[in-house]
Subunit: 332 residues, 2 copies
DNA sequence: CTGAAAGCGCTTACAG
DNA sequence: CTGAAAGCGCTTACAG
């Protein structure tokens, strides 16, 4: 079933059929109605490959995630896909998985499929780690949105979760509301996102006149456990810990309980992402909600705006919120 | 940069360029080498839309997941995407989100994009709920793999996690190794997957001469909490609970601890999926590993086999494993 | 081993 | 308001 079949059945040219298919105005009302009826009757769906080839637009977006097994990325990817789909775009999903060597192949693939634009989910894409692989291929010819990173790429759009500010406020909350004075930071490596969280921590600690204590560990339960052990070895007087990830914070809580420290009685704990993990942890984790739904939705909207000539803002910030649960509170 | 440019630069016809692009044998070795050099020099990538239009194969797969925010689905979707990508296929990802009405639009979209085949992740797609929407559109003309469901669809392939057997063995383990005699089942609705888990539970209870106690609840922490409350209200002597999902089991554990029951001292708990949630729970959850990686990989492999004429098995089973953690053990 | 030509199913100036 | 024709960038019989 092609546009030729429809044209023949309707007794018009394919040009006219194409016009009503694309909602052009210059078609006689009766002709349109008739063609619409034939279309309906035949259950015709146009071949998107042919449309794309002829029109130079595929309504397809390349969505590059770090790894959708990570709840943070899967939630954003989910919202990106749902929003794009509502706006008439399809998503080709790629999982980068930290393997820089795959990036060129993925990008070639997306270009060969003539995607209209790109969305990168994860701050790693905006950092030095990927710069070489991305810069050589992304020349700014197609709209590109980075989530949680501001790359030095011509014409790129960015959606930034305000993690620095959120981390700062979390530390201030621990100080003012929970009466903590020895607050350590547990981070997870060297992405842009990690750096801004750390910056927020340091800013708060500075302005409050406290001393900074920092540990870097793996993003996992075991990572949280070992970070807690080594931090308490060197700084036994710590009374609060802020983590840049919920799962790792769960590991931290587990180790604290194992060694007989109460949470939050002895030590308050703050996680990050406000994921289901923060609710499952006992005591449940106070955590920073980085508004993943908002973020995904906004990113998809920006891309559609750019593609449809509506000129969106180049950089959009999404505010984060501290969600208070049981792992923080007054010291005992 | 098109195939014409390459042909001109190499001094041959586009037919010959196309031949070397597609690895056909009937090309002179020298000609091939020369064309390959030109190709390399120009960094040419063929337009997949044009290829697809001409060849009737797009190397694109429609991947329909229930919801990739669910760790079970995102893990399978991840593995599906990675495997397909290795095999040269791209994935268009769709999130069904339980909204049956979206299914027709998604399928139309995938057909209009001329996908070569489909993978459905989640037993709901094989059930009555979706039958109407799927049966009318999926006529068996394109290879289709269902994960965790056996639909009545002509020519569909199935990858089935052996959940029934796993659930049966979990109950037997509770009976023999943990000395439990009052074992209840907490399920989450009426999908094929849920039914087979329940069947396994009932088979075990039957053969052990025990009484079946069943609760159906929502798949969430709150669902687990309320299921535990209502089960213990009516059957205070319960000494073990098997859940069909880890998150809900976490909720169950939380409620048990709240009302002063020890886990596993008073009541043993078994979860399902062997997700990170089972490790985060305190006590950590004994859980059934349904081998999501295997499953995703096998499903992608089957689809590629079918597309490339290798005639895979119609139904492949993936064995599950009981992973013992702290939430089960001898009664106190 | 190589190439001219038709065809895949659309869109889009252009002419009327 | 409508249509004939060219073109999008490939593949694939077919002929040589």
């Amino acid at each position: 079933m092609t546009i030729y079949d429809i044209a023949e059945k309707a007794g018009v040219s394919i040009t006219t059929v194409s016009r009503v298919l694309n909602g052009k105005e210059n078609v006689n009302a009766k002709t349109r109605a008739h063609i619409l009826a034939v279309l309906e009757e035949c259950g015709y769906t146009p071949n998107r490959l042919a449309q794309g080839l002829a029109s130079k637009a595929t309504k397809t977006i390349g969505v590059m995630a770090v790894d959708i097994r990570d709840i943070h990325h899967s939630t954003i990817a989910y919202q990106v896909e749902q929003t794009l789909s509502t706006l008439g775009y399809s998503s080709i999903l790629c999982n980068f998985s930290g393997n820089k060597n795959r990036l060129p192949d993925y990008l070639d693939m997306l270009f060969s499929r003539q995607v209209d634009g790109f969305i990168f989910i994860g701050s790693v894409f905006a950092g030095d780690f990927c710069r070489g692989e991305l810069a050589s291929r992304l020349d700014g010819s197609k709209p590109t949105v980075f989530i949680n990173g501001t790359p030095s790429l011509p014409g790129a759009y960015c959606v930034i979760e305000q993690e620095e500010d959120a981390m700062k406020r979390a530390v201030e909350y621990l100080y003012h509301q929970c009466d903590r004075r020895h607050i350590a930071f547990v981070g997870m490596g060297d992405t842009a996102s990690e750096r801004s969280k750390r910056k927020g921590y340091e800013a708060a600690v500075d302005s409050l006149g406290l001393t900074a204590h920092t540990a870097i560990t793996a993003q996992s339960l075991a990572g949280g456990e070992s970070a807690v052990s080594s931090l308490l070895d060197t700084h036994p007087s710590l009374d609060a810990l802020v983590f840049t990830d919920d799962i790792t914070a769960c590991g931290g809580v587990r180790r604290l309980l194992q060694i007989g420290r109460s949470v939050p009685g002895d030590i308050a704990v703050v996680g990050f992402n406000n994921s289901l993990y923060s609710e499952i942890c006992i005591p449940s984790l106070t955590s920073i909600d980085n508004r993943m739904y908002e973020t995904g939705k906004i990113a998809a909207g920006i891309l559609a705006d750019a593609l449809e000539g509506r000129e969106p803002e180049a950089v959009v910030s999404v505010g984060c919120q501290l969600v208070i649960r049981d792992s923080t509170g007054i010291r005992i």
